[in-house]
C-alpha cells in the first residue's frame, strides 16, 4: 500500500507515517496543497498512490476546493478527508466534493487504518480486481468467488452483492448504496428484492467464516466470525 498524506501538522504527520511504516505501508507526506499537486501523477492511468489522506485546513487553501478541482482534472485515486471540521454540513461538502470517506479529528488511528483498508477495497471491488477477506477470495473480472480455494456457486446478482459487501467490510454497506448499485441494470428493483439476494447469499456463505449481519433499516455488514470472538 502506497499512501499520500497531505497534512500540515507535523505531529500528526509524523505519528501517522511511523504507524504506517510499522504496518508495512509506504507513504509520502506533504504539508501544502502545492506540494501535493507536484506529488500527484500527471496521468490518470498511472495511479502511483493507492490512496490520498487529505487534511482540509491547509496553509495554502481549502482541501475540499482543491479536491473538487483535482476530481475535475480526472483524479481517480480514493481520498479520505481528515479534518477538525465536525459540522455535518462540512462532512456533506467533503463527500460531495469527491471524498470517499471522512474522519474528524481527534480520531482513533485504528479506525483510520480500517477506513483506508475499506476504501481501498471498495475501489478494488468496483474495478473488478482480486479481493481477499478472511477465507473469501473474490475475482471481479472472472466473476468468481472462492472459499479456501473452493468455488462458490453464485448467481450474478449474488456475486455482485458479495462484491459490494466485501468492498465495505467490515463496515456497514448502507441499504441505499446496495439498492442503488443493483438498480443500475434493473430500474425497478425493490428494496425487498435486495433483501432476497442478501438472504440467499447469506445461506451460501454458511461455513465460510464470514456472516452477513443485518442492521435493520440501515444495511448489511460482512463480518468475520472469528473477529467477533477475538
Amino acid at each position: 500500500m502506497h499512501l499520500l498524506l497531505v497534512e500540515d501538522d507535523i505531529v500528526i504527520s509524523r505519528e501517522l507515517l511511523l504507524r504506517w511504516h510499522a504496518r508495512g505501508w509506504s507513504a509520502d507526506a506533504c504539508a501544502t496543497l502545492a506540494a501535493a499537486e507536484l506529488a500527484l501523477p500527471t496521468s490518470a492511468v498511472d495511479p502511483r498512490y493507492d490512496l490520498i489522506v487529505l487534511d482540509l485546513g491547509l496553509p495554502d487553501g481549502d482541501g475540499v476546493d482543491w479536491l473538487v478541482r483535482q476530481r475535475g482534472a480526472d483524479l481517480r485515486m480514493p481520498v479520505i478527508v481528515l479534518t477538525a471540521r465536525d459540522r455535518i454540513a462540512d462532512r456533506v461538502r467533503g463527500l460531495n466534493g469527491g471524498a470517499d470517506d471522512y474522519l474528524v479529528k481527534p480520531f482513533d488511528p485504528d479506525e483510520l487504518d480500517a477506513r483506508i483498508d475499506a476504501v481501498r477495497r471498495r475501489g478494488q471491488a468496483s474495478r473488478g480486481e482480486r479481493l481477499q477477506y478472511g477465507r473469501i477470495t473474490w475475482f471481479g473480472e472472472q466473476g468468481a468467488a472462492y472459499i479456501d480455494g473452493h468455488a462458490l456457486e453464485l448467481l450474478p446478482r449474488e456475486f455482485q452483492v458479495l462484491g459490494l459487501l466485501l468492498g465495505r467490510a467490515p463496515r456497514l454497506l448502507p441499504k441505499r448504496a446496495l439498492v442503488d448499485a443493483l438498480a443500475e441494470r434493473n430500474l425497478n428493483l425493490a428494496d425487498s428484492a435486495a433483501e432476497v439476494y442478501v438472504s440467499r447469499l447469506r445461506r451460501k456463505l454458511a461455513g465460510s467464516g464470514a456472516t452477513i449481519r443485518t442492521l435493520r433499516g440501515f444495511g448489511y455488514v460482512l463480518e468475520l466470525a472469528d473477529e467477533q470472538t477475538a
Binding site: I88, L172, R176, V179, A190, L215, G217, F218, G219, V221
Partner: protein
C-alpha cells in the same frame, strides 16, 4: 450587480438646499428690478418728449387755415439743446412742412398712446430714436402734426444707473453664501466631535453613551447605538461564559491526561504502561467529544441569533445517514442497531444540520449506556413527525429525567461517563424547532427519548405516503 450607492455629504446637501433657493430669489429680483427700471425710465422720458412736442404744438398759429410756426431762436435752442442726445423736430400740415427738418418718421414700434398723440421707436439718419407725435387740430384747417425725435443716450444711462442699484445685491448674495457655508459647517462639526468621542469611548469599553451635548435630532442614533452596544455586551458576556465553560470542561480531562502520563512515566513495565495508555486513549476520545459538543452548543447559540435556514426535510433520510454513521460503534459493541420507519418520507420543516446533531447525540448516549449485545432502535414516525431513540440500557430514573436535559452552564448534571451535554444539546435544538422532547422507559428496559416536531400544515402526497419504508 449594481454597486453600492455613494455616501452623500450632509454638508453638500445642506449647501445645495440653502444656496439654490437663494440664487433663484436673487435672479428673479434682479430680472424684475431691471425690467422695472427700464419701464420707469421709458415712462419718464416719454413724458418729457411728449411735453416737448406739446410745447411746440402750442406755438402753432393758423392763418386762414394755413399753419405757421414762429419759434423764437432762443426757444428753438432750448428745445434742441442737449448735452448727450440729439433732438430734432418737424411740423407738418398734411404733407406740407411747416417747420423743422424733414424725414422724422410718422410711425414706429413700441408705440405708447397719449390723449393727444403717441410715442414710438424709429430711426433717423441711421440712428435709433424715440419720437413723440402730437396732432393739433384747428377748425377749418388741415390738422398739424408735430414730431420731436430724440436719441436714447440719456435713457440708457439712466436705466443703467437705476440697475446699478441692484449691484450691491451681489455682495449680499456672497455674504449670505458665506454665512450659510459657515453655519452649515458649524452645525455639522459637532457630528465629527460626537463621533470621535464615541469612538474614543467604544475603543475602551462597550458602555452606553450618554446623551449630553448631543443634539436632539441625533438622540435616536444614540439610542440605536446604545441598543447595539447592549446587544454586543450580552453577546460578549455569553461568549465569555462559553469560553470559560469550555476551558473548564477541557481542563478537567487534560488534568486527567497529565496524571495518566505521569503514571506511564512511573510504570514498572510495558504491560502496565499499555494499560494506562489505553485508559488515556479513552479519556482523549472523551475530550474530543466534549469539544465537539461544545462546538455544537456554540452553533446552536449562533443559530439562536437568527440565521436559521428551515427547510422541508425527510427525517427518515436524516436517520439513515446519522444511524449509518454510528454503525461502526454499534458493531464494535455488538449492539443491534435498527431503523424502524414505516412511512417514507416523513417531512418536517427543520434545520437539517441541527436535527442531525440532535439525533447524533441521542445515538451517542444510547451507544454509551447500552451494554454489549444490547439493542438500539431508531424510530421515525409520521403525524406528527417524530424521531425516537430507544435502547436497552439501564434507563434514567424518573426523578432524574428532568435534570438530564439541563445544560451544565446553568446547573450541573453528569451521569455516567458522559459530559452531561448531550441531552442539553438535544433539548436546545428541540426548543429551536418548537419540538417537544420527552424521556420515557423503552420497551427493553432502557431509556427512550422522543423528539416530536410540529405537524406541518401540508400533508404528504398520497404517492409519497403509499410508498412504504424498506425498514424490515
Amino acid at each position: 450587480m449594481a454597486g453600492p450607492r455613494r455616501a452623500r455629504w450632509l454638508t453638500a446637501d445642506l449647501l445645495l438646499r440653502l444656496m439654490l433657493p437663494l440664487l433663484v430669489i436673487v435672479a428673479v429680483t434682479a430680472a424684475f428690478g431691471t425690467y422695472t427700471a427700464h419701464r420707469l425710465v421709458a415712462r419718464v422720458y416719454d413724458g418729457w418728449l411728449l411735453d416737448a412736442a406739446r410745447s411746440v404744438a402750442v406755438q402753432v398759429r393758423f392763418d386762414h387755415g394755413m399753419a405757421l410756426l414762429e419759434l423764437p431762436p432762443v426757444a428753438e435752442s432750448i428745445l434742441l439743446f442737449d448735452d448727450h442726445d440729439r433732438t430734432d423736430f418737424s411740423v407738418f400740415q398734411g404733407s406740407r412742412r411747416v417747420a423743422g427738418r424733414p424725414g422724422v418718421p410718422l410711425a414706429g414700434d413700441h408705440e405708447s398712446q397719449a390723449a393727444d398723440g403717441s410715442v414710438y421707436d424709429a430711426s433717423l439718419d441711421g440712428a435709433p430714436v424715440r419720437v413723440a407725435r402730437v396732432t393739433v387740430a384747428h377748425e377749418g384747417a388741415e390738422a398739424v402734426t408735430v414730431r420731436v425725435a430724440e436719441t436714447g443716450m440719456k435713457r440708457e444711462r439712466s436705466a443703467r444707473e437705476l440697475v446699478a442699484v441692484l449691484w450691491p445685491m451681489l455682495a449680499l448674495v456672497a455674504a449670505a453664501a458665506l454665512s450659510i457655508l459657515l453655519a452649515v459647517r458649524r452645525t455639522v462639526q459637532p457630528l465629527h466631535r460626537i463621533a470621535s468621542s464615541w469612538n474614543a469611548r467604544s475603543l475602551v469599553s462597550l458602555q452606553a453613551i450618554g446623551g449630553d451635548g448631543v443634539p436632539r435630532e441625533l438622540l435616536p442614533f444614540t439610542a440605536a447605538l446604545n441598543d447595539l452596544l447592549a446587544r454586543m455586551r450580552s453577546l460578549l458576556a455569553r461568549e465569555r461564559q462559553f469560553a470559560a465553560t469550555a476551558a473548564h470542561q477541557l481542563r478537567t480531562p487534560l488534568a486527567g491526561l497529565q496524571l495518566g502520563l505521569a503514571r506511564v512515566a512511573r510504570a514498572a513495565d510495558v504491560a502496565e504502561a499499555r494499560e494506562v495508555a489505553s485508559e488515556l486513549s479513552q479519556l482523549t476520545e472523551r475530550t474530543g467529544r466534549i469539544v465537539q459538543q461544545l462546538l455544537a452548543l456554540g452553533n446552536i447559540d449562533r443559530e439562536d441569533r437568527g440565521d436559521m435556514a428551515f427547510v422541508a426535510c425527510d427525517l427518515v433520510a436524516v436517520a439513515e445517514d446519522i444511524g449509518a454513521g454510528h454503525a461502526d460503534r454499534a458493531l464494535a459493541k455488538n449492539i443491534d442497531l435498527e431503523l424502524a420507519a414505516l412511512v417514507r418520507p416523513v417531512t418536517a420543516t427543520v434545520v437539517p444540520e441541527l436535527v442531525a446533531e440532535a439525533l447524533a447525540n441521542l445515538l451517542d448516549n444510547a451507544l454509551r449506556h447500552t451494554p454489549a449485545a444490547g439493542r438500539i432502535v431508531v424510530e421515525v414516525l409520521a403525524r406528527p413527525p417524530t424521531i425516537r431513540v430507544s435502547d436497552s440500557g439501564p434507563g434514567v430514573p424518573e426523578d432524574e429525567r428532568e435534570a438530564v436535559f439541563e445544560r451544565f452552564v446553568r446547573g450541573r448534571s453528569a451521569i455516567g461517563e458522559g459530559s452531561g451535554l448531550g441531552l442539553a444539546i438535544v433539548s436546545e435544538i428541540a426548543r429551536l424547532h418548537g419540538a417537544a422532547v420527552s424521556l420515557t422507559d423503552s420497551p427493553w428496559g432502557g431509556a427512550s427519548v422522543s423528539l416530536v416536531f410540529p405537524d406541518p400544515v401540508a400533508t404528504p402526497t398520497p404517492a409519497a405516503r403509499s410508498r412504504t419504508a424498506p425498514g424490515r
